[in-house]
């Protein structure tokens, strides 16, 4: 059973599902059979997006721009997919909390939105986009609830293993079961949120009008600009304004909380107070902390068994697959320890097996998934290093204390700086080059995230126990702060690109109406969040509306 439940099997199932459905769609073409294949294609892509959302985070498939863009591309409607994804990408980032809270399922939501947009019957008229957006938001809420349910199921499974001591349920099995359920969540979301309702709607429309019931055989909406997809109705404009407000809040929040960046610029860093966050103060003298120990400085390392790094990448990438409400990443780290045990021999293997045993019956563990790479490197160092540093504490303490300590830095680096910057850059590119924005997001995301994880691994493998004292050097400590500060200008750049590509010249009155609704959206949004934002949002909306109307008077715009 464990082999059957390999994490590779879950991932492979999703890939095969997408490939088979795409081939069927290509073979059948449009029409009833082709539309069924299209549904299956979306369901299979939804399964992969769901798996990425729960476990394979570095691949950014679950980012709305990518999920919707690829979803659109799979059915030959890339531009509409990207524009839908762009709308949802604007909405979610400002609402995403730092610190590991459960988030709305933005990726599944984007795919659901694209499916609704492309498959709604023509009778929907100009409400196609708002209805798709509404379905997406509902799907996001459902996805979060489903995530909570799956985390509960993972916890039940782990508790049962603890109680029964089932030998077959290794850490790998637990992870694989979680990954398989993530795939199932994607398929279920597809069935619930677009397959059944849209087929029923299509059949109903066909019965009443006598038109063929084919799902996606109509002409494309013919969008030339992202604004063509947005009718000037209140609901859509308000949602967009709310989203823009969220992004501005994100920019302000990042600016305020990034701390280190300004402190460095202003020369105020380097407090002399003991332990005042200057990083290494108070740590140098701690015996046994190896970041700056002779072994690390001399570059003495390795003697790792060949292939150990390659074998640990899959457990690391799927660490979150077994995340449980009760034990958090315990099964993921147990899987890691088991893999280390399999790749070692002699005392190293015995230590790794002992660690896996400790984790199996131990308490909860958690850190940022990226920081887990540093912890894995450190474990390899401690287990296999030539010097064989004798651990003064149980190895589980390395994961417990190191995980908690590194989580702050990694949360800020990955979720507070790196990922938002990537998303914002892709959003700025999307209105002018839709395909390039999706490709750059995927390539940049995978490259950067895997690159940083790789660097963290290498550092962990040098530092050993020293990982718990944090990254050495001022540069690495303040880098996330600088990344956060970059968000504000990139958000402004994205806004400028949006305005520049808004198609003002085609329908000035519609744009004035949109901006008026933006103001009301901002009013509602600010009352729901922070009153202090109210005046800024109002002024922004009033200025743009006035500018739009003024531009029309002397005939500046056609």
């Amino acid at each position: 059973m464990p082999r059957l439940l390999s994490p590779w099997a879950a991932t492979g199932l999703g890939v095969i599902g997408v490939g088979a459905a795409a081939a069927a769609r290509a073979a059948m073409g449009a029409g009833a059979g082709g539309d069924l294949a299209l549904m299956l294609l979306f369901a299979a892509w939804g399964a992969l997006v769901s798996l990425d959302e729960r476990a394979l985070g570095p691949f950014v498939l679950h980012e709305p721009l990518v999920a919707a863009g690829v979803g659109g591309a799979l059915v030959g409607r890339l531009t509409e997919g990207v524009f839908l994804g762009l709308s949802l990408q604007w909405i979610w980032p400002g609402l995403r909390p730092l610190g590991g809270a459960r988030q709305p399922s933005a990726g599944l939501a984007a795919l659901i939105g694209v499916a609704w947009y492309l498959l709604l019957p023509d009778a929907i008229g100009p409400w196609r986009f708002p209805v798709a957006l509404g379905a997406a938001v509902a799907g996001a809420a459902w996805g979060r609830a489903a995530e909570e349910l799956l985390r509960g199921r993972n916890a039940l499974r782990e508790a049962r293993v603890d109680r029964d001591g089932r030998p077959l349920w290794s850490g790998e099995s637990l992870i694989a079961a979680g990954a398989a359920e993530a795939l199932a969540r994607g398929v279920l979301a597809s069935a619930l949120f677009f397959a059944f309702p849209l087929v029923l709607m299509r059949l109903g429309a066909s019965a009443s009008t006598g038109a063929p019931a084919a799902l996606a055989s109509g002409p494309p909406p013919g969008a030339e600009s992202w604004s063509d997809l947005m009718p000037p109705e209140a609901a859509v404009a308000a949602v967009w304004f709310f989203a823009v407000g969220g992004l501005l809040r994100q920019a302000l929040g990042a600016w305020r909380s990034s701390g280190g960046g300004t402190a460095v610029l202003a020369g105020r860093a380097g407090s002399t107070e003991p332990g005042a966050g200057e990083g290494t103060a108070g740590v140098e003298a701690i015996p046994g902390v190896g970041a700056r120990t002779p072994a690390a400085d001399e570059g003495e390392r390795e003697a790792f068994p060949p292939g150990v790094r390659r074998r640990l990448w899959i457990p690391l990438l799927l660490l979150q697959g077994g995340f449980s409400r009760a034990f958090q990443q315990r099964s993921g780290f147990r899987n890691l320890a088991e893999s280390l045990g399999r790749s070692g021999s002699g005392p190293a293997r015995e230590r790794a097996v002992a660690l896996a045993g400790d984790l199996a019956g131990g308490g909860a563990l958690n850190t940022h998934p990226g920081a887990a790479a540093a912890l894995a490197g450190a474990l390899v160092r401690v287990l296999h290093g030539r010097r064989q540093e004798a651990p003064e504490r149980p190895l589980a303490r390395l994961l417990e204390v190191g995980g908690a300590a590194l989580a702050q830095w990694a949360d800020r680096a990955f979720w507070g700086a790196g990922r938002p910057l990537l998303a914002l850059a892709a959003m700025a590119l999307a209105p002018v080059a839709p395909a390039a924005s999706v490709v750059s997001f995927v390539v940049g995301g995978v490259g950067l995230e895997l690159g940083v994880r790789s660097a963290l691994w290498a550092w962990g493998a040098r530092a050993g126990w020293g990982v718990v004292s944090g990254l050495p050097g001022r540069f690495w400590r303040v880098l996330p702060g600088w990344g956060s500060r970059l968000q504000a200008p990139v958000i402004l750049l994205a806004l400028v690109v949006l305005v520049a590509t808004a198609g003002f010249d085609r329908d000035r009155l519609a744009w004035a109406m949109r901006l008026g609704w933006f103001m009301l959206g901002g009013l509602a949004g600010s009352l729901a969040t922070r009153r202090v934002m109210l005046w800024g949002w109002m002024c922004w909306g009033v200025s743009l509306t006035a500018a739009t109307l003024a531009a029309g008077v002397p005939g500046w715009a056609k």
Binding site: G99, A145, A155, A159, A276, A405, Q408, W409, V468, S469
Partner: protein
């Protein structure tokens, strides 16, 4: 003068505390009220090294905190972190006066524990401590992150009183009240 935040969290200082609550409250001091950390320079150094810039980390045992809290500087800029309910009870017994509500932010699974909320798993002993604290009139609320579901003293009392049904938070979201692991 009350503390900025008093929180019970078995991971003490980590991302949810430093970034989730820290971004909202802007503390200047994180005070770890924990005997294990106080006795282990290695562990205290780890927490100090990874604390957000502009903050500092201090440590006292719970009993010492109970005796010395009145003389602590900058209490209004301090987040106090306890590893568990027994540590909190120890500090209270020793004279610690919270001066405000106490946040239950994360007590995860341990042998024999029962899931009270998704982020609160209590053993029978811990449930007893919590009931006692509530009965003595301490103001407690369970909340993982700012913006998350908040469960006040009354709701916590109801859950501990044996409520077995699904329940939502007082503000938003949902939780699994009283599910047995």
């Amino acid at each position: 003068m009350s503390f900025l935040l008093i929180r019970v969290d078995d991971r003490l200082l980590h991302g949810q505390v430093a970034l989730g609550w820290g971004a909202l409250l802007h503390p200047r001091i994180y005070l770890l009220a924990d005997d294990r950390v106080a006795a282990d320079a290695w562990e205290l150094g780890a927490y100090r090294a990874m604390a957000p810039e502009g903050t500092r980390v201090e440590c006292r045992g719970p009993a010492a905190l109970g005796r010395e809290w009145g003389g602590l500087p900058d209490r209004e800029g301090t987040v106090v972190l306890f590893r568990g309910l027994s540590e909190l009870a120890l500090a209270l017994e020793a004279g610690f006066e919270p001066g405000g509500a106490i946040n239950l932010g994360g007590i995860h699974a341990s042998p024999g524990s029962q899931e009270i909320l998704p982020f609160l798993h209590l053993t029978r002993e811990q449930s007893g401590i919590l009931k006692t604290l509530l009965a003595r009139g301490h103001d407690l609320f369970a909340q993982e992150l700012p913006g998350g579901a908040r469960y006040g003293s009354v709701r916590l009392g109801e859950i501990l009183g044996g409520l077995r049904s699904q329940s939502g938070g007082e503000e938003a979201g949902g939780g699994g009240a009283g599910r047995k692991r």
